[in-house]
């Protein structure tokens, strides 16, 4: 609980806001219940979002590899990821501008915008497929390579009892060759 102090603080604050709305605001009790739930949900959503943003800004959530091309020899940035990021942000910022100026969500999203995002997302997916298919070891850089030819990979997971601390130990043994039979 001590590690998640922000989480519990958000939860308590949302409940307090809901109670304040339900008790102190004058009006019809049916409407007050709806308002209390709405404002409580709004507060908790905002605070959870803010917690995530604060963690990203402080480095607690690491996004340094956001544009990294997995399985690349140079370990450089991926052009398709960069394009997807740019287009996503451009459409998000546009939506914000429209909401601010109209005080309402747009009624229709033109097919052109969906096509734009579709092209970008498809490019990213195909690029990832090409990159992982072209990797020398057949892996996509996420550590999920195939077992060696003729060899075996043994995964062992040991879970200690709760009295012993409940530690979980994973062991992976790779044998380069095995004697069949």
């Amino acid at each position: 609980m001590r590690d998640n102090i922000e989480f519990w603080a958000s939860l308590v604050l949302a409940v307090v806001v809901a109670f304040v709305v339900a008790i102190l605001v004058p009006g019809d009790p049916d409407k007050k219940v709806v308002w209390a739930i709405e404002y409580g949900a709004l507060v908790i959503t905002f605070l959870f979002g803010f917690m995530v943003l604060a963690a990203i800004a402080s480095g607690k959530i690491d996004i340094s590899g956001l544009l990294e091309e997995k399985g690349s020899t140079s370990g450089g940035a991926s052009m398709s990821r960069f394009q997807l990021l740019i287009f996503t942000f451009v459409v998000a910022i546009s939506l914000l501008l429209i909401v601010v100026s109209k005080s309402d969500f747009p009624k229709v999203v033109p097919a052109g915008i969906l096509t734009l995002l579709g092209i970008s997302a498809t490019t990213y997916a195909v690029s990832k497929g090409i990159q992982s298919g072209g990797s020398d070891d057949g892996s996509d850089g996420d550590g999920g390579g195939p077992p060696p030819p003729g060899g075996t990979v043994t995964h062992t997971t040991v879970v200690a009892s709760p009295e012993a601390g409940g530690a979980v130990t994973h062991t992976t043994v790779v044998n380069s060759s095995t004697n069949a039979g």
Binding site: V21, V25, G27, W35, E38, Y39, L42, T45, F46, G49, F50, L53, I56, I63, S64, G65, L66, L67, E68, S72, T73, S74, G75, G76, A77, M79, Q83, L85, I86, F87, V90, A92, I93, S94, L95, L96, L97, I98, V99, S101, S103, F105, P106, V108, V109, P110, G112, I113, T115, L116, I119, T122, T123, V126, S127, I130, Q131, G133, G134, D136
Partner: protein, 126 residues
């Protein structure tokens, strides 16, 4: 009681613009690396393995992306009441750019660079 939809809209604005701001800030300060953005991997035709090279396909895709994003943003700034209509030729150009990038990437990774392939063919022809 104030309208809850207004609050929700402002909440979304703060969170999304905050996320955009943090990501842009990290891009500017190097927190998110753009190293080797224009460099791709190519199969070494003779000897095997892979090497890094400057990719023209990536360069043209970067230009297309920046121009498209700029055009789109300018359209929205000009008329911020609705999403702009994107002309079909614009989408075709974007799709073509992506196809060139992907084709170049697949060719470099699976066959090697055209320059190396041409050199190999020349040596075999002699």
């Amino acid at each position: 009681m104030p309208n809850v939809a207004q609050f929700a809209a402002w909440e979304g604005i703060i969170l999304v613009s905050g996320l955009c701001g943090i990501v842009l800030w990290k891009l500017m300060t190097g927190g998110i690396s753009l190293k080797c953005l224009l460099y791709g991997d190519a199969r070494v035709v003779k000897g095997g393995g892979r090497k890094s090279y400057f990719s023209a396909g990536r360069a043209q895709m970067l230009m297309t992306t920046v121009v498209s994003a700029g055009y789109f943003l300018l359209q929205v700034i000009e008329d911020p009441t609705q999403f702009p209509d994107i002309p079909t030729p614009f989408l075709i150009a974007l799709g073509g750019s992506s196809a060139i990038y992907l084709g170049g990437k697949a060719q470099a990774l699976y066959l090697g660079r055209l320059r190396d392939l041409a050199g190999l063919l020349d040596r075999r022809g002699q």
